[in-house]
């Protein structure tokens, strides 16, 4: 081959991120849904429908993760959960926010105990404050319609007589295992995602 002549090149700013988000957001929403379906298939002891929100945040940033989670809730609200459940979309935004914060603080290394400690504190105890506010304000703050949390609710209520505490403890009892496990799952998957998919800085 003859010597290659050097061509003058210019730098071009990509415009693809916007349209990538348009496709990534429904994908995250659908993964949340399928995550829940697989939990049913395996009869695993979690809800399994939030790790995709966390994953979306880890690889594409807060906006995509939050929007994907929000969209999932909107769809569930329109189809099976009923309209008021769309407010749980904000719970997904809170999850994306916590995930984003954990990422910024570097609590994403599964080998470090700090990751687990902060995940338990933020997802297990701080986040339920938020869900408790929603479940009382919009859903009356009664017991959940699953027997185990309902039993915990009844036990706290009858021993303390504190309505808010009963709601909070009921939520903590479901969120600690579910959100912490979901966070671990999302970190494991994120570590296997090829670099070219990672848009989050």
């Amino acid at each position: 081959m003859p010597e290659e002549a050097t061509v003058e090149t210019v730098e071009v700013t990509p415009t693809g991120a916007k349209i990538l988000a348009v496709v990534m957001i429904p994908t995250i929403a659908a993964l949340n849904y399928v995550g829940g379906v697989l939990v049913e298939m395996l009869k695993a002891p979690i809800w399994g429908d939030t790790w995709a929100t966390m994953l979306g945040t880890l690889i594409s940033g807060f906006v995509v993760g939050a929007a994907g989670g929000f969209l999932y809730n909107i769809i569930m609200a329109f189809t099976v959960w009923g309209l008021p459940n769309w407010v749980w979309g904000f719970a997904n935004v809170a999850i994306a926010l916590i995930t984003w914060f954990m990422m910024k603080m570097g609590w994403t290394d599964l080998k470090k105990p700090m990751t687990y400690i902060m995940a338990i504190i933020l997802f297990g105890f701080i986040y339920p404050i938020f869900t408790t506010a929603i479940s009382i304000g919009l859903f009356g703050g009664g017991p959940l319609w699953k027997p185990l949390p309902a039993a915990i609710y009844a036990a706290v209520l009858s021993s303390t007589g504190n309505f808010w505490l009963a709601n909070y403890i009921q939520n903590v009892s479901t969120e600690v295992p579910d959100k912490v496990i979901s966070y671990i799952i999302s970190l494991i998957i994120a570590s296997r995602v090829p670099k070219r998919f990672i848009l989050a800085k």
């Binding site: 008021p84 009664g142 799952i185 998919f197």
Partner: protein, 280 residues
Amino acid sequence: MGISLSLLKRTAVEVETFVQRLDGRVKFLYFIWASILVYIFYDFILNLIFIIVTLLLAIYARVAKPIAMTLLVIIVPWIAIATPILSLPLGFPWNKTIIYYIKFAGYEIPVYLEGLGWGITWPLRIGVCISTAMLFYLTTNQARLVATMFKMKVPFRFIYMLIATFQLIPLLVDEANTIFQAQLSRGLRTDVGIIKKLYYYLALVIPLTLSALNRVQIRAIALESRGFSAPVTKTLMYEAEFKWMDWIFLSTIIVATIVLAYVYITYGYSPIAGLEYIWG
């Protein structure tokens, strides 16, 4: 999840009754309207009336079965769990009016009105929200749904994301099934301990997620190549338009609002059940 997936996969043959023909915006308004009203009032009988009206419309439109099923799966057990916990002396802080005593093992256990009312009214509120939302969703096909949102000035980008999720979910569920079957033949079992189950869960979701992400980029460039970002007004093949039926339905809602406003002013927030509002 079984019900929800069958809801997402629409049947090819659609019935066309006046409920289906109603403009999507009118049905959307109906469910927002009903949902707000049941939160303004605190009356389980009123909630029941809303549910019955919605179910009647649903029966006429032949979509009552999934709605009734959802109510049976969510609302009925919820009431069954909530009413005993709240109405028996288990610490519900607003309990004061005893309406009945249950004789049990030599004890007389009081049943409180406040807890009972609360335990029935709240799930039924959600029941109204669920049934009206489902009526809208099940009787508005995709073309009409898109046209409805388009008319409501929802940005096309958002309309796309919503509809694309509906299409992606069954595709991903199919793929999840394939992966599940493959892992089953490689020794995955469902009758194992919690840790093992989570391990299996990972074995399912990792390949699923990676393949889904793989497709994101190509889907995005395929969309872009087909003019998705073109700065023009998109053409829809179906246009949402108000017909006389829509005006009648709309007028009914307005008349009902006026009547209910009168009822609220005259009889208060619990006109039929006569419950007392607690907290807030």
